[in-house]
């Protein structure tokens, strides 16, 4: 079965996010006041798997082996068929 998987990778709580800080500053210059801002990256993956669990497990392995660095990152995986 074919699954679409969205993998969102962001920084762990408390990690310095210099790009977010600069973007927040720019928003503030445009008159948008924000309480916080974080950046994240989304990877849209389509893959073949037996079921949802297998698709999830494959995505988790991708994060562990390449997409995320556990020192600074956390991630969220969403599977849809």
């Amino acid at each position: 079965m074919k699954f679409d998987v969205a993998i969102t990778i962001g920084l762990k709580e408390g990690m310095l996010d210099p790009e977010a800080r600069a973007i927040r500053h720019a928003l503030s210059n445009l008159g948008f006041s924000t309480e916080s801002l974080a950046t994240a990256r989304v990877f849209q993956v389509s893959l073949e798997a037996q079921d949802r669990d297998e698709a999830y497990a494959r995505a988790e392995e991708m994060c562990a082996r390449l997409l995320a660095n556990p020192v600074i990152h956390r991630y969220r995986i969403e599977v849809s068929s």
């Binding site: 990690m15 310095l16 210099p18 790009e19 600069a22 082996r65 390449l66 997409l67 660095n69 020192v71 600074i72």
Partner: protein, 240 residues
Amino acid sequence: MRFAVVQFGGSNCDRDVWHILQDVCGVSTDLVWYKERLRDQYDAIVIPGGFSYGDYLRAGAIAARTPIMEDIRSHADAGRLVLGICNGAQIGAESGLVPGIFTINAYPKFVCDWVHLRVENTTSPFTSQYRRGEVIRIPIAHKEGRYVAPPAVLEKLERDNRIAFRFCDPYGVCTPESNPNGSARGITGILGTRDNILVMMPHPERASEPVLGSDAGRKIFDSMIHAIASGSVPCAEEGL
């Protein structure tokens, strides 16, 4: 004695390191394209600076997962020397040769400048020619050079004397102003568990001849050569 400098697509300091090793230090040095793997044994391997894979995903992340890294890991497991410079340091951290990660500078722009480093460890095969606390002037050129590691890891690095270099001011004092990228505790040179691995963001090959404005980085290469020549680190087995 034979060194190898590994070239990835996007490496751009490979020939600079080769020149210093071959022409300045007089060591026979091969340039090895990463796809060719390590066919021969070497006494030391240098992973040079550059932008392997265009810094896609994270600096060094993709190069760290190429097959030649398995050869480099075996080489390191045998106790032989590995030096990672700049992108080579990012690759070294991404491949787990040292703990932690080099990520986006606290002020998120590319910094190309001369900085001062304080030599913290003088017992490793990379730093034995320095005096403890010696201040050296050396260039940096990176956007992802801020060293980050969990507090427990930083404590362990301090305890195990695995911090080779820290950013400092010209007088050897580590201040927030002398830390150009916001690295944890000003750390920018980290030794592996067995001190036969060193990764560092600054470029010693750009400070190894007086004509370059400083030759304070040359002692890193001299230390390596001395360690191999004196037999204090294992050398390559002949005929393999």
